[in-house]
Amino acid sequence: MSSERSVHRRVLRRETHSSRAGAAITVAVCLILLFAAVGAACVYLVVHPATATAVQAGFSELARFRSALRPGVLVGGVVTALLGLIVILLGVTPGRKARRRLASDRSAIVVDDKVIANALAARAASVAGVAPGQAKVIVGRRRVAVRLVPTSGTSLDTKAVADAVAQNADAYGLTRAPRVHVAENGVVGS
């Protein structure tokens, strides 16, 4: 039986990274549609042999317009190659989710970045002395960005806000100094 610690480790890793299930399902569905179309076309040609001859003749005809087809082949090739590159990158990149771990002895804890952002926004608003809706926080992988909308006619102590947010963000591994941006136009105070 695997130890609790090893179960926790595995869950933490899986819950902070994408399973790529969505991408795999999307690609699989596209391939199913493609294969179904090709299969159906072949069955149609079996049932209607005359069409097969016509299709073959059509392809030979097409070969005579090689130079005219060139731009189309080029564009199609570029699009296909780019699609392939995107799909490869989906397979290779770690696909980190916007979540992070919290320390606990008993359980494996993961917190959504959005929950942290909510908490930091509440803190920023209270330090700045504005209504909760006037502070917005974006939590990135390593850095926190704060956007404040001042109440018209008052000034904001951005240094105090930055310090308070930095102090709270530190607990979540967000160690870089937060960026604080104050909107030029304030809102009427409530």
Binding site: V11, R20, A24, V78, A81, L83, K97, R99
Partner: protein, 207 residues
């Protein structure tokens, strides 16, 4: 938490991506590089020839006099590939279980038997533990099999603006209560979420 085979997903994506990339680059090369163009022009007739020869090996059956085996082989291959892809899709997710403890052997003086603890009990106990909480709006509990062990998944939605670190001691207290009640420890995964569906989460979130 579920037992999606992530390695297979990634191998599948890399494989399909590599094939698309190769086809795309080959098409670009044929369109742009004169060398590739001539190569294609020289190869085309022989490819056509091969297909033509395959077509002439025709089968006569069910009243269809000249059916090429190629036209039958392609749909069969397509069907096999489609079946494999359907299996790939069906294998996503899973690993969900209804119990926390499975058939624990019990023997007392009076009787012998086995005990299974339903996840609904864990759900009830942990919900009650958080009922008085001022930090948390909702709690839900489910269970998954991870590395062969039933593992609890506790989804906690803190009140908006609550510092998540403040929820941790409360969670540990609730789990201690649960551990004492159950009499054994099961692995626990706790997810602190903002309540909105986070399945499409991006690296940066706005509030």
């Amino acid at each position: 938490m579920n037992s999606t085979n992530r390695v297979i997903n990634r191998i599948f994506l890399i494989l399909v991506g590599a094939i698309l990339l190769a086809i795309g680059l080959a098409a670009v090369a044929v369109a742009v590089l004169p060398g590739w163009d001539t190569m294609w022009r020289q190869a085309a007739p022989s490819i056509q020839d091969t297909i033509g020869r395959a077509r002439t090996v025709s089968l006569a059956f069910a009243g269809l006099s000249h059916v090429s085996w190629l036209l039958l082989a392609i749909p069969v291959a397509a069907a096999i590939l489609i079946a494999a892809l359907v299996v790939l899709i069906a294998r996503q997710g899973r690993g969900h279980v209804r119990f926390v403890v499975e058939r624990l052997a019990l023997s007392t003086a009076a009787a012998e038997g086995a005990l299974t603890v339903d996840v609904a009990i864990a759900d009830d106990v942990l919900r009650r533990a958080f009922a008085r909480s001022r930090l948390v709006t909702s709690v839900s509990v489910s269970a998954y099999r991870v590395k062969g062990r039933p593992t609890l998944k506790v989804t906690v939605t803190p009140r908006r603006g609550i510092e998540p670190a403040r929820v941790v001691p409360e969670l540990e207290r609730a789990l201690a209560e649960w551990d004492a009640l159950l009499g054994q420890r099961v692995p626990v995964f706790a997810h602190l979420t903002s309540g909105v569906r986070t399945a499409l989460a991006r690296p940066a979130r706005t509030v």
